[in-house]
């Protein structure tokens, strides 16, 4: 099973990377951009999808400061 884990800074925690991108876009002429956040993407093949959540809790994300979302993709790679 191919899986994708999206990891984001928790809402309410200062996200300086998102803020920097948000400031840069208008400078390039892209108006009307707001609420930008930058996170991390992990893609992996797993035999047992039940392990994905504990993987996220223990290693892939830091639940104190990050939210994660697991997506199951069709087929392996």
């Amino acid at each position: 099973m191919r899986a994708r884990v999206l990891i984001r800074p928790k809402a309410g925690i200062l996200d300086p990377q998102g803020a920097a991108v948000e400031r840069a876009l208008p400078a390039l002429g892209f108006a009307g951009v707001g609420n930008v956040h930058v996170g991390r993407l992990v893609e992996l093949d797993v035999e047992n999808e039940a392990q994905l959540q504990p993987m996220c809790e223990r290693l892939l994300a830091n639940p104190l400061v990050e939210d994660y979302e697991v997506q199951l993709l069709d087929g392996g790679s």
Partner: protein, 225 residues
């Protein structure tokens, strides 16, 4: 007394930590793959970029065999000092509350910082006076201390906020200007600035960092200031 200083692939401040510890006691390096803490009375988790800081700073080092032993050592009441990357490792290991995030300015920053001692009664600061200022260098990209408001309030009331950046010195955006914290029991301490780089006035212009190592020696040897 004897300090054990961990060394991970990617550590870079372990030799300075070793030399600083040797000014107050014996010290030996401990390779990350070893579970044997070599009879150490106190452990230093040093600065650097353990395991390349891949994924998150400290996230992978936290699962090393040496850290498994350090977690047991801390549970038995042993003194554990985490400096910079070591602080990040101790937070990832949940030996300390909170987490360290990217500096607010997104830059790697290296500067001398002035730190206020908020709690001089503990195992790591008993050689300091209350409200004493320590001048110690800091150098990091991921040093913005964060914990949720309830955790911070509990830490504040139980005296776990040990060091604070003096006014105007908080370059990384840490909540409440926090530079160093301990666990509830008071035997695990982490800070972002580098006391091991401030042990000789001739080299760093300040020997204030020695106070941390000296405090640990006093604690282990039962000396009270």
């Amino acid at each position: 007394m004897k300090f054990g200083v961990l060394r991970f692939p990617g550590s870079c401040d372990e030799v300075d930590a070793l030399e600083a510890a040797r000014r107050v006691g014996d010290a030996e390096l401990i390779w990350h793959g070893s579970r044997d803490l070599k009879g150490s009375d106190a452990i230093v988790v040093p600065g650097g970029f353990s395991y390349g800081d891949y994924l998150r700073a400290g996230a992978i080092a936290r699962f090393s065999p040496a850290m498994e032993s350090v977690i047991d050592f801390a549970a038995d009441g042993g003194l554990v000092l985490g400096i910079c990357n070591g602080f990040q490792v101790l937070c990832e290991a949940r030996l300390l509350p909170g987490a360290l995030l990217a500096n607010e300015n997104l830059h790697f920053t290296f500067r001398q910082v002035e730190l206020e001692v908020l709690n001089s009664g503990g195992a790591f600061t008993r050689a300091c006076a209350l409200d004493q200022c320590l001048s110690i260098p800091a150098k990091h990209s991921w040093g913005r201390y964060h914990a949720d408001p309830d955790t911070l309030a509990a830490m504040d009331s139980s005296g776990q906020l040990i060091l604070r950046y003096a006014p105007g010195q908080n370059f990384n955006g840490s909540l409440h200007d926090i530079a160093g914290v301990c666990n509830e029991r008071g035997n695990v301490f982490g800070l972002m600035p580098h006391p091991e780089h401030a042990v000789d006035e001739l080299i760093g212009g300040s020997a204030d960092g020695l106070k941390i190592f000296e405090s640990m020696r006093m604690t282990v040897e039962g000396v009270h200031a």
